[in-house]
């Protein structure tokens, strides 16, 4: 095992899958020579050549549309959209085709395609570089929407995403890229797509989060324990959609309380669906209204004010405190 950043872990996943399977092709803006603007694909063009790591012209719809053709041919394209804020240029290719080609061809064509995109705030980036809009994809039938929360699960989920027969939108939190290191085994590791993970056991409250928000959520859980003696169970979604609510429901049936944390705008955001699922399956266990700690329903501000936008440990603790008071 080596200690790796998330960038390195993702790089490892790509490298190993490319070594194993010559149908895995990387493409996108600056992914080759430059190694990607965040260096996730660093060194891969040197190792695999220009035929497998493809620097494309600057056009997102083309990157995705071309990937769709490659996937229909039976390749496994992993395309990069430089920032998720520019993935709307290819929205129609995803909605109209990637999410449907299996269905539109009555199962004839597979659509093993991964769309990687950095998302979220916290790195003093430019306008349009900090959004968190996974709900768009999550609401689109035919897609899978995956967001890892650290180097090790990022690597394992990326391997699973590449092997998945369906299109996977894979958001990578910029704030996590180099935030911390984790032991990542050299040998292959996968994680099932569509399965959230219990990452901290508790009994008084269920906290649900993912991506860059998992760590402040865990910190908040720790504050709650230290300060109030309240034991929070924490669940890392990992897959936003298709959302499997089983583990969430079980936890809330036990704790009767829940707080959901994400950076995405609150209204019509991922948290709403989780509330709705818990309403459907755990209503009679609920002892307090479920709280959502989320981005505000505004354009995410430029970086000087980002800190007040993105959910903080304090804000999470406060929400949990309200929930526990009921």
């Amino acid at each position: 095992m080596t200690k790796m950043t998330m960038v390195q872990a993702l790089n490892l996943a790509l490298k190993q899958e490319m070594e194993k399977d010559d149908s895995v092709i990387l493409l996108g803006e600056d992914v080759g020579r430059d190694g990607g603007v965040f260096r996730v694909t660093e060194g891969l063009m040197d190792q695999f050549g220009e035929q497998r790591v493809v620097d494309t012209p600057l056009a997102e719809s083309a990157i995705v549309g071309m990937s769709i053709g490659m996937a229909a041919y039976g390749l496994k394209p992993v395309c990069e959209i430089q920032f998720s804020g520019f993935s709307y240029q290819n929205f129609h290719q995803i909605e109209n085709h990637a999410a449907r080609l299996r269905q539109r061809s009555q199962g004839r064509y597979p659509m093993s395609l991964v769309l990687r995109a950095p998302y979220g705030g916290g790195v003093r980036a430019l306008e349009h570089h900090s959004e968190s809009r996974e709900a768009y994809w999550a609401h689109t039938p035919g897609l899978k929407m995956v967001i890892p929360s650290g180097p090790r699960n990022a690597r394992a989920l990326m391997v699973s995403a590449i092997r998945d027969p369906d299109p996977v939108i894979f958001y990578e939190a910029k704030a996590l890229y180099r935030a911390f290191r984790e032991e990542v085994p050299e040998e292959e590791e996968t994680l099932p797509i569509g399965r959230p993970q219990l990452v901290r056991e508790g009994k008084d409250l269920t906290m649900i989060s993912y991506g860059a928000m998992l760590r402040p959520t865990l910190e908040a859980a720790e504050v709650l324990r230290e300060r109030d003696g309240a034991l929070a169970e924490v669940i890392d979604l990992l897959t936003i959609s298709p959302l499997d609510e089983e583990i969430l429901v079980k936890s809330v049936q036990k704790t009767g309380r829940a707080v959901i944390v994400h950076e995405a705008p609150r209204s019509f955001g991922p948290g709403a669906e989780i509330v709705a699922r818990l309403m459907e399956k755990a209503f009679f266990f609920l002892q307090a209204p479920i709280e959502r700690v989320a981005g505000f329903d505004i354009v995410i501000p430029l970086f000087a004010r980002e800190k007040s936008y993105i959910p903080s440990v304090e804000r999470i603790v406060a929400a949990a405190g309200r929930t526990l008071k009921n």
């Binding site: 719809s61 083309a62 053709g69 290719q93 080609l101 269905q103 009555q106 199962g107 089983e246």
Partner: protein, 366 residues
């Protein structure tokens, strides 16, 4: 350092071989076998008669909205005839004649047009994509397929069809550009049928031709009389040969005409004159080709009559067949098929909900 004219490496040409009266420019006549000529003729005939029959079915409420292809048979068949089964055809939504050439059954077209996705099947021994409704979007898939074929060191090529209207979409541009930069083996065939619903091509673009747009991408472009199957054949042969030989993509503009309504939901009288349509009826690709074949002695008046009957019978059988198949189609639960390779749990739950609902005969629990 004066003002220097920039010499362009691309030349844009116009090609026509068989004129409106079916008269041949013998010098340019392509060398097509008698057998192929007859196959092409039959395919044009099937395309024409089937289109007419679909219109009847639609008017009788036996199928839904569909886009007639009448008048565009030559543009489609002259091009697609150069593909091998293992090649890829990436259609837009008005290429029924080409799809049938590529082994799609008449039945499947009827079934699809009647709202059953089971009709969206691709002939198992042909590598084609299904009909694509979002205008221009399929052009990029063709580029990806071409890229993949080359990566796999296959000599498969790809042919994609789109309309004049499609050339305004960003995806057309991005597709042509990627195709050119990556030198993929793709033939881009624009059926310039003069209209995009109610928009005439002169309002679609200010360029005098679609073909000259190739200059923007540094690839060869050619404009042909799209109602002249020999011209389409000749241009497409050059382009498919080039693609197969690793010479990269070509843009072919076929000048043709949408003789009918845009779809059966459209009323072209609102926006164009009968006189214009008449002019173009006079340029019909089928009668023109027929005359050529008769002149050439490849087809006799007798063959012609026999073929007419045969084709109509084939279509009738297909209609009967399709209607029979549709009676046993229609399990609503099938709509959960193929959304994912495997149904995720929550969605499986939704399927069960529907199953229960269907089982109780929509009984309302009280």
């Amino acid at each position: 350092m004066p003002r220097t004219p920039i010499a362009l490496s691309e030349r844009i040409e116009y090609l026509a071989i068989l004129n409106e009266k079916g008269q041949l420019d013998a010098e340019l006549e392509p060398d097509i076998s008698g057998e192929m000529l007859l196959r092409l003729y039959r395919a044009m005939l099937v395309g024409r008669r089937f289109d007419e029959r679909l219109l009847d079915l639609q008017r009788q409420g036996r199928i839904g909205t569909f886009p007639p292809i009448k008048g565009q048979e030559a543009a489609q068949l002259g091009a697609v005839a150069h593909l091998r089964p293992g090649d890829w055809m990436v259609p837009s939504f008005r290429e029924t004649a080409a799809e049938l050439w590529r082994g799609r059954t008449l039945e499947s077209v009827i079934i699809c047009n009647n709202g059953f996705s089971e009709g969206a099947v691709i002939s198992p021994d042909h590598n084609d994509l299904p009909v694509s409704v979002p205008v221009g979007s399929q052009i990029l898939h063709a580029v990806g397929l071409g890229w993949a074929a080359r990566y796999r060191k296959k000599d498969d090529i790809v042919m994609t069809f789109f309309g004049d209207g499609a050339t305004s979409e960003g995806d057309f541009h991005e597709g042509m550009n990627f195709g050119a930069v990556f030198q993929v083996p793709v033939v881009f065939v624009c059926q310039n049928n003069q209209w995009a619903i109610s928009t005439p091509v002169a309002r679609q673009t200010r360029s005098a031709t679609i073909a000259q747009k190739a200059i923007a991408y540094g690839i060869p472009g050619i404009q042909v009389d799209g109602n002249d199957i020999l011209a389409v054949w000749a241009a497409a042969k050059e382009a498919t040969d080039r693609a197969r030989a690793g010479g990269g993509p070509t843009l072919i503009e076929c000048l043709t005409y949408r003789v009918m309504m845009h779809t059966t939901a459209d009323d072209p009288k609102r926006y164009r004159t009968e006189a214009e349509v008449e002019t173009w009826r006079g340029r019909d690709p089928l009668t023109r080709f027929q005359k050529y074949l008769l002149d050439k002695g490849v087809l006799s008046g007798h063959d012609q009559l026999e073929l007419d009957t045969e084709v109509l019978q084939e279509i009738q059988r297909a209609v009967d067949n399709a209607e029979k198949q549709m009676q046993i189609m229609g399990n609503p639960l099938d709509m959960f098929n193929h959304v994912y390779a495997e149904l995720p749990p929550y969605l499986a739950g939704q399927r069960e909900e529907l199953a229960r609902e269907l089982a109780t005969g929509k009984e309302v629990p009280s």
